[in-house]
């Protein structure tokens, strides 16, 4: 990566809302894929993977609700979950994960991507002096909590992968 000084800042309510919508979509992708993988692996359930996927889906749904509350404060609509679920299904309709390792690796990518997204977003908000319609402190507190939960998710998946 080329190290250059960049002004990656969130400049307006609209831009913030759009980025939060992207966060919602990322969470929905995780949720839809975890559900899908869970269903596909149903025949030969592995208790540890099952718990991991169920927890991931639940956590994503919770994150989505928190992000929805934030964009509601900005007067912007959420992105319907069934829409993202059908996009995930359309794209993965013909493929199945080979085994548990595939599922875990996919889950790891999901958690890492989400972590990176929130980390960049927090930095971009902190680097901005724009006044948002939502309380800045509450916004950053919510995003920091979500980011830390994603970091915890990365750790959990890694631990399961290492044990296997």
């Amino acid at each position: 990566m080329v190290a250059v000084s960049v002004s990656q800042r969130v400049a307006s309510d609209d831009q913030l809302a759009r980025l939060l919508q992207i966060g919602i979509v990322l969470e929905e992708v995780v949720e839809a894929r975890a559900h899908r993988h869970y269903r596909q692996l149903d025949a030969e359930l592995d208790a540890e993977v099952e718990t991991l996927l169920a927890d991931a889906a639940e956590e994503s749904a919770d994150h989505r609700e928190r992000l929805e509350a934030l964009i509601d404060g900005l007067g912007v609509d959420s992105v319907p979950f069934d829409e993202i679920e059908s996009l995930v299904d359309a794209r993965y309709g013909r493929t199945r994960p080979e085994d548990f390792d595939d599922v875990l690796y996919d889950q790891l990518c999901n958690e890492e991507t989400a972590y990176k997204f929130y980390d960049d977003l927090i930095e971009a908000i902190e680097g901005s002096d724009a006044a948002f319609s939502v309380d800045r402190e509450a916004l950053l507190a919510t995003l920091t909590t979500i980011r830390d939960e994603e970091a915890e998710g990365v750790r959990e998946v890694t631990e399961v992968m290492e044990r296997r």
Binding site: S7, R18, V29, I84, L87
Partner: protein
């Protein structure tokens, strides 16, 4: 995508349309920056072996620069296509330009898993419309009676 990637993407597109080295003026115009700023970044790209600058001729990307530029263009296409097709954003080009600096490549890759990008991407990028040439077909159809 960082600023260097935005420059690489722009130089790649300008080189393609000018069918030769990209002039500093064209690069600055395309990015909406001053020629002095453009020169400064071109110097940095040169130092990193991503571009070569020949006085009075212009900038040419090296092989490494081309690889990075095509990746950046692909990320940009993903953001545009995601905004247009998933979030139904009308002015997706303008928003993509705003967002490209804040969206990381790994995030774009994940968004790519739910959009229907064409295999020829990023060669389908049309600098005239600042968008993927295949995007119109994939966009949500507009119902004429509602117009």
């Amino acid at each position: 995508m960082n600023t260097a990637d935005q420059y690489l993407k722009t130089i790649y597109v300008v080189q393609d349309s000018e069918d030769g080295p990209a002039s500093t003026g064209s690069i600055a115009d395309a990015l909406g920056v001053s020629p002095a700023s453009a020169n400064e970044m071109i110097g940095k790209l040169e130092e990193r072996g991503l571009a070569e600058h020949e006085k009075y001729k212009g900038v040419t990307l090296t092989d490494d620069g081309i690889v990075r530029a095509r990746d950046a263009l692909q990320t940009y296409c993903i953001i545009e296509r995601f905004l247009a097709n998933v979030l139904a954003v009308e002015d997706f080009q303008a928003e993509a330009r705003e967002l490209e600096a804040v969206i990381d490549d790994t995030v774009a890759e994940r968004l790519d898993t739910i959009i229907d990008r064409q295999p020829e991407c990023p060669d389908c990028f049309d600098p005239e419309s600042d968008a993927c040439a295949c995007l119109e077909i994939a966009a949500t159809p507009v119902e004429p009676e509602q117009q």
